[in-house]
């Protein structure tokens, strides 16, 4: 029985692989040199990054700190509206200080229900239609973005911050939590705090469009795969008010992205140098500092369960959040 399922899946995978190969056939064989030249002419310049010496780092930072910001999301329950999310955002400074913010998001609460309705009405006026479920998802996403921005703002207010590293693209914050984003942006500019978003999973399709019509629609991550040398960066501009760069800080051929404020573009090089310096050479290309923050903000599944068990009425918990699916034993 099990064998039969596996055999079928195997067949499917083989044919899937073939179709992928067909689709990418032409492109996978890009001439790397040719592509680099075209990128150079039509997109932006390549820069070689440095690994900063320890002395250089200390001098550059003087008495200030680097802050990493990340958020985490844990879900209890499965289907709308019978779930709850535990949201956490953490700003961690290199001086071993933390600012933590947390929220619970649950569509079952009256005020959240009202918020969902209000959001749908608002969107409808702009001509967009959202189901309750989609609206809830949007609200929750924006709540998390807001929490992250808030801890970042507090960090600037409390600590002598040189640079804030956010996990993910800055554009996401602008879209998901406009007001808080504005606030952070202004504060950062006013206090001269450098802001950088580090994007692990690049999802844009910017480069192909600029290069030629036959490359249109290809994801940037596919196009740049293996094209940059280790420690190389490609700068470009396409997001409103932001400056973007792709770089390959480790041996992993996959590139990562950086977003910075346009106003701070003269500092791009040093920011990228820093990112590169803090990224393990043989790693997957993410600065260790962000990994540390990520690790710390994340709540383990076990912890979530025990928190929920301790603080939720077991009767209610079972009635509202237990799902048949969860009870299944695999």
């Amino acid at each position: 029985m099990l064998g039969e399922v596996a055999t079928k899946l195997k067949k499917n995978l083989i044919s899937f692989n073939k179709r992928l190969q067909d689709r990418y056939k032409g492109e996978v064989d890009f001439d790397k040199q040719d592509l680099r030249e075209r990128l150079h002419h039509k997109v932006g310049k390549f820069t070689l990054l440095e690994r900063l010496s320890n002395q250089r780092l200390r001098d550059w930072l003087a008495k200030e700190v680097v802050v990493g910001v990340d958020g985490s999301l844990n879900k209890v329950g499965v289907n709308f509206p019978h779930y709850l999310y535990l949201l956490q955002a953490l700003a961690k400074s290199t001086a071993q200080e933390d600012i933590l913010a947390a929220e619970v998001f649950c569509p079952l609460l009256a005020e959240v229900e009202a918020e969902i309705e209000q959001f749908r009405v608002q969107q409808q006026q702009e001509g967009k239609r959202y189901s309750q479920q989609e609206a809830a998802t949007k609200l929750r996403t924006s709540l998390l973005a807001k929490l992250e921005l808030q801890v970042a703002i507090q960090a600037i207010q409390k600590w002598p911050v040189k640079l804030i590293m956010m996990d993910g693209s800055l554009i996401r914050y602008r879209i998901e939590a406009k007001d808080s984003w504005q606030q952070l942006r202004e504060l950062a500019l006013e206090k001269g705090v450098l802001l950088v978003g580090v994007i692990e999973e690049i999802a844009t399709k910017e480069l192909g469009t600029r290069l030629s019509s036959d490359l249109e629609g290809i994801y940037d991550r596919e196009l740049l795969f293996g094209v940059l040398e280790v420690g190389e960066m490609l700068e470009l501009e396409f997001k409103l008010g932001l400056k973007t760069a792709f770089l390959r800080p480790s041996q992993d051929p996959q590139v990562i992205g950086l977003d910075i404020l346009k106003e701070q573009q003269d500092k791009l090089k040093i920011m990228a140098d820093l990112i590169q310096t803090l990224t393990p050479k043989s790693g997957r290309g993410i600065p260790l500092w962000l990994d540390i923050v990520d690790n710390e903000v994340r709540i383990s599944k076990q912890m979530v369960e025990s928190l929920v068990d301790s603080y939720l009425d077991p009767q209610l918990k079972r009635r509202l959040f237990a799902s048949k699916r969860q009870e299944r034993i695999y």
Binding site: L61, T94, A95, T277, L288, I292
Partner: protein
């Protein structure tokens, strides 16, 4: 400090970023619905989430860690300390996750930790993990248990561990278990010092000749010094103490002889027949003579004796002798010559070691005056003697108590403790031995009469189960051997975690599993106030002796330098005069001179007169 993760009614995990946990410290869990229960740290862990594991799939390389450090972030500090805490009493439902935990104040745990005042109990050391709460202690608990750290005596850290001696009435007998070098003898010494402090009559069998309390512990600050000189006496078996043969019952004698070497059936039979055979108590002399005569008689044989008597060639005294032989053959002819020979050999062995020269009266007197008595001897002789001595003293105490219970008057004999190292030799598992019988009896019945045991052994597995089972308090020191750890697990209430720690304990650290405390306590034994007379390293001793000899010679010849080798004989006389009682030959002197040259204390030069000359180096 905060409770994290899953909790049960028995156990919780407490985590802290700032504070490291100590094994065995007591924490208060602030779950008010459960009345803030107390728990003991049974396992500690510190871990750093970033070293040395890889995070997700990226290995952390050194360079990056260095860079992070340069921007002020030290990964090493990002450490989380976690303690597994076992509640002292089971909670009615699981502890709430997330509640805080704190170090309790001394008053909150006093009852758990202090069962007796230092003045009344045995102050044996400190309770581990109580360092932080010790500040709030009553004054009489402070500064009573200085510790030894390396070679240095340091102040008491934590709450003192006071063993409630009076509770032995209810929970008798102490075991001291641990591998070689784990601190048993040291712990025993501390225990004995405390017994002397309280002037408890104590009998110590000392097979290692180490229990002397005259010498103060090196570098012990004067405020801790204590003079035990008037509180103990040392006796050596066969020198100052021995067995009074006339007091021996036949059973005693059998025990003694069998301790010298095992007895055969027919030897036992022979002793039973021959001892006190003439309706009065034998002295050593009368008994030994009877054995010798019988042996002679058996060697001659009835026929030869009769023939000799008939032959008429015997003079008056010889005739009497042969008539005596004949009478012996008549009475004991059925005994085997080989048994008699064997018994003679055993008896002589005991005599040779002086066993029958003295009595135990000095020991009795010392115990009566509440002293500690150390009995020394080689282990086999000690066993022989202990069998007799213990049987005797125990009987005296029992007779007194039995008489007392039944309202009669009897001579007073005080309650007493018996302490011995190498207890598995005295009460071995698996085979019978005379000492085992008496120790077993005391272990089972001693409580009634106020006779208690302190038994130390490095091989609990070899100690008789019946005795082990009666040890209500056990001090378990470092133990590495798996079979012994297994025995300890069975015979104590050490938890699996504690048993796991046994191989790693430092010398002087022990778990005390005692019915008196009702739970296992981790303690560190205090520094002893006295030291064993032969703690000197034998190799240091060797060096020191050589040096002393050399110094003596050097002193003797220094005045006579320079010494010319062709004039050595003249100098030899002078040197020999200086060396009291020793005479060196010419060659020996030259030999020694060469040695001193080798050691750089003299130098050897060509003499301007020809030959060589030894002179100051």
């Amino acid at each position: 400090m905060q409770v994290v993760g899953l909790t049960t009614q028995q156990e919780v995990y407490v985590a802290s970023k700032e504070r490291k946990f100590r094994s065995n410290e007591i924490l208060k869990i602030l779950d008010s619905e459960l009345d803030n229960p107390l728990g003991e740290v049974v396992e500690t862990q510190s871990y750093n989430r970033f070293i040395p594991l890889s995070i997700k799939d990226s290995f952390v390389d050194k360079g990056v860690l260095e860079s992070l450090r340069s921007i002020g972030y030290n990964v090493d500090e990002d450490e989380i300390n976690i303690a597994k805490v076992r509640l002292l009493t089971e909670a009615t439902y699981p502890i709430k996750t997330g509640v805080a935990a704190e170090v309790p104040a001394f008053t909150e745990v006093k009852e758990l930790l202090v069962k007796e005042s230092p003045a009344e109990g045995l102050v044996l050391g400190v309770i581990k993990g109580t360092e932080e709460m010790a500040a709030g202690m009553d004054d009489d608990l402070k500064d009573v248990a200085p510790l030894l750290k390396g070679k240095e005596v340091v102040a008491q850290q934590g709450v003192p561990f006071n063993f409630k001696l009076k509770a032995m009435h209810q929970y008798p007998h102490i075991g001291i278990i641990g591998g070689s070098g784990s601190g048993k003898s040291f712990g025993m010494r501390v225990m004995l010092e405390e017994l002397m402090k309280l002037e408890i009559p104590t009998l110590v069998f000392d097979p290692h000749f180490e229990m002397d309390f005259s010498e103060k512990f090196p570098d012990l600050p004067t405020e801790y010094e204590e003079d035990f000189e008037s509180k103990f006496e040392i006796f050596q078996v066969g020198r100052q103490v021995g067995v009074n043969f006339e007091d021996l019952s036949t059973k005693d004698l059998l025990d003694l002889l069998s301790a010298a070497s095992d007895l055969s059936e027919s030897m036992v039979n022979a002793v039973e027949t021959l001892h006190n055979a003439e309706a009065k108590r034998d002295s050593f002399f009368t008994f030994a003579e009877r054995l010798a005569d019988l042996r002679q008689a058996l060697e001659l044989g009835r026929k030869r004796i009769q023939r000799k008597l008939k032959s008429g060639e015997l003079s008056g005294q010889q005739k009497e002798e042969y008539q005596h032989y004949l009478a012996l053959i008549d009475d004991y002819g059925s005994l085997h010559l080989s048994s008699i020979t064997g018994l003679t050999w055993r008896l002589n062995k005991l005599k040779r070691h002086g066993l029958f020269q003295q009595s135990i009266s000095e020991i009795e007197a010392a115990l009566q005056s509440r002293k500690l008595v150390v009995v020394q001897g080689p282990i086999w002789l000690l066993q022989v003697f202990a069998t007799y001595l213990l049987g005797n003293l125990y009987r005296q105490r029992r007779d007194y108590k039995d008489a007392d219970y039944s309202g009669e008057t009897a001579d007073y004999f005080p309650p007493f403790l018996v302490a011995t190292d190498e207890a598995h030799n005295f009460a071995p598992k698996g085979y019978d031995s005379p000492t085992k019988r008496v120790l077993k009896e005391i272990s089972q019945e001693g409580r009634k009469y106020g006779v208690f045991l302190i038994l130390a052994t490095q091989r609990p597995t070899l100690l008789a189960d019946t005795v082990t089972a009666q040890l209500n308090s056990k001090f378990v020191f470092r133990t590495v051997r798996a079979s012994d750890i297994e025995t300890i697990k069975q015979e104590t209430d050490l938890t699996a975690e504690e048993a796991k720690r046994l191989p790693y304990l430092s010398s002087g650290d022990a778990f005390v599993s005692s019915a008196i405390f009702g739970r296992t306590m981790a303690v560190r034994i205090r520094v002893a106030k006295t030291t064993s007379p032969h703690t000197q390293n034998p190799f240091d001793e060797l060096e020191a002796k050589t040096k002393a000899k050399e110094d003596e010679l050097y002193g003797a010849i220094a005045k006579h330098l320079p010494i010319y080798d062709d004039d050595m004989l003249t100098e030899l006389k002078a040197v020999n005069k200086e060396l009291e009682g020793k005479m060196l030959s010419r060659n020996q002197l030259q030999d020694r001179l060469e040695t001193l040259v080798e050691r750089g204390r003299l130098k050897k030069e060509d003499s301007p007169l020809g030959g060589t000359v030894y002179n100051l180096g």
